[in-house]
């Protein structure tokens, strides 16, 4: 399980380019920071007001005035900047975040995303997610391919949308998919699964890339 999450996080990390401004969601996406390739400098943004966020603060050395959007004590790198929430979401909405990585309850072949309301459960609130997926230049959904076997990648989302037509890429333990005008294009697959298994775990018809290859590790 931890392995699956690390596999996904490591693959997401390969999408990041030198100089990218990156916002990572809570949970699995946060792990992406541990796998940034050598020679690639990315600048992490935290929507509560940091550009240039560093790793979590060491126990006992926390600065209680500095937290990330998951309310954990963090450090900042040399060259960081603090700002208010209007400035932060100006950066996000204005397209100045190159990549945002977040989880999903459902994502569909039109790039629609549902990740904030589970029927019958307490609605925790969208926080900054709606702004992030609308504003970021590239939206990567990083998640396990299914919810204990139930489809999460669908022809059409059934849960209320977080945003419409925003997802660019889906990365799961089974493969790497791009949302295209024609539908979901499988570009890389994990050889631990057959193409049939991947299709079966997917609630939308996958388009198999002519350049299909094994998932980068």
């Amino acid at each position: 399980m931890a392995d699956i999450k690390e596999l996904i996080a490591a693959r997401v990390a390969k999408e990041l380019k030198d100089g990218d401004v990156v916002n990572l969601g809570i949970g699995l996406p946060t792990m992406v920071a541990n796998f940034i390739p050598e020679g690639v400098d990315v600048v992490f943004q935290s929507e509560n007001g940091i550009m240039g966020m560093g790793p979590a603060a060491e126990k006992g050395r926390e600065d209680v005035d500095i937290i990330n959007a998951g309310a954990q004590y963090v450090t900042v790198n040399q060259g960081a900047m603090f700002f208010d929430s209007a400035t932060s979401f100006g950066i996000i909405r204005g397209g100045h975040v190159d990549v945002t990585v977040l989880g999903a309850l459902e994502v569909d072949q039109c790039g629609n995303l549902s990740n904030w309301i589970v029927p019958g459960k307490m609605v925790p609130g969208m926080g900054g997610a709606m702004d992030l997926v609308v504003g970021a230049k590239k939206v990567i959904v990083a998640m396990q391919h299914t919810q204990k076997g139930a489809h999460k990648i669908l022809g059409e989302c059934m849960l209320p949308y977080t945003a419409v037509g925003v997802v660019d890429m889906i990365i799961t333990e089974m493969g790497v998919m791009e949302v295209t005008k024609e539908g979901i294009l499988l570009k890389e697959y994990n050889p631990d699964y057959t193409l049939e298994q991947i299709q079966e775990a997917t609630g939308a018809q996958l388009i198999i890339s002519p350049d299909l290859r094994e998932m980068e590790r």
């Binding site: 935290s46 929507e47 509560n48 007001g49 940091i50 926390e62 600065d63 209680v64 005035d65 500095i66 937290i67 990330n68 959007a69 309310a71 603090f82 700002f83 208010d84 929430s85 209007a86 932060s88 979401f89 100006g90 996000i92 909405r93 307490m122 609605v123 925790p124 609130g125 969208m126 926080g127 900054g128 997610a129 709606m130 702004d131 609308v134 504003g135 209320p160 949308y161 977080t162 945003a163 419409v164 037509g165």
Partner: protein, 226 residues
């Protein structure tokens, strides 16, 4: 010039049942606990609270919720405070907490608009979602946007790091959050601050909130662990 320095209890004295209050901070980092505590002591009820989130039980806005003082909460995220769900779902109609969820960037812009005299802003956030319900959709340069209206409140609680006796304030680290916008969007603005200094001690290039916005200054705010 008028003396703005007072105790927390003096600063919240004019707050009445049913008033609306903007509270700075993100998960209570940047929330003035000494003002929240004074408000709990004063025990005014039926408040409308505008804050990024519901804090956590025992911290920030969470204390007001625990004490049953909040009638309506306008926030972007309430999931880390389980008391919110309990109070939203109570069968006692009079105790019910109403919760209005607003995307975080939209909340920040609405407060800013309220302080800057704008009639609203057009945002792409929420288009095609339930957030768009009841809102005007306006197309500009070929793209759809939601018209989001300004927000103001009767009072604002800010959490300053350094404040001079005029009210000029700076915020350290990620305590800044919604504080600078809320300073501009309420009729009565109270700063709970960690350090009070003489006028002139803060470099004019570094002031974030001008003292013209500040009605009351309360010292003794501490750095708090979440």
């Amino acid at each position: 010039m008028k003396n703005k320095i007072m105790t927390a209890d003096e600063a919240v004295a004019t707050i009445k049942d049913g008033d609306s209050i903007m509270v700075g901070g993100f998960m209570a980092c940047g929330t003035p606990e000494i003002l929240i505590d004074a408000l709990v002591r004063k025990n005014v009820r039926h408040l409308t609270i505008i804050c990024n989130d519901a804090g956590v039980p025992g911290r920030g806005v969470g204390k007001l919720i625990s004490n049953g003082q909040v009638k309506k909460l306008i926030a972007s995220h309430v999931g880390l405070n389980p008391e919110v769900a309990q109070r939203m779902n109570t069968d006692v109609e009079a105790d019910k907490l109403e919760c209005i969820l607003v995307p975080q960037g939209t909340l920040a812009e609405r407060v800013r608009a309220g302080g800057a005299g704008l009639g609203g802003i057009l945002t792409p956030t929420g288009v095609g979602t339930i957030v768009a319900e009841g809102k005007q959709v306006i197309s500009v340069q070929g793209r759809d946007y939601l018209l989001e209206e300004p927000l103001r409140a009767d009072h604002a609680f800010l959490r300053g790091s350094v404040t001079d006796k005029f009210g000029n304030t700076t915020y350290n680290g990620t305590t800044r959050t919604f504080n600078p916008m809320m300073a501009t969007a309420a009729d009565n603005v109270i700063v709970g601050t960690c350090e009070i200094v003489e006028i002139g001690e803060i470099d004019p290039n570094h002031v974030v909130t001008s003292g013209i916005f500040v009605d009351a200054i309360v010292g003794g705010e501490k750095p708090w662990q979440i």
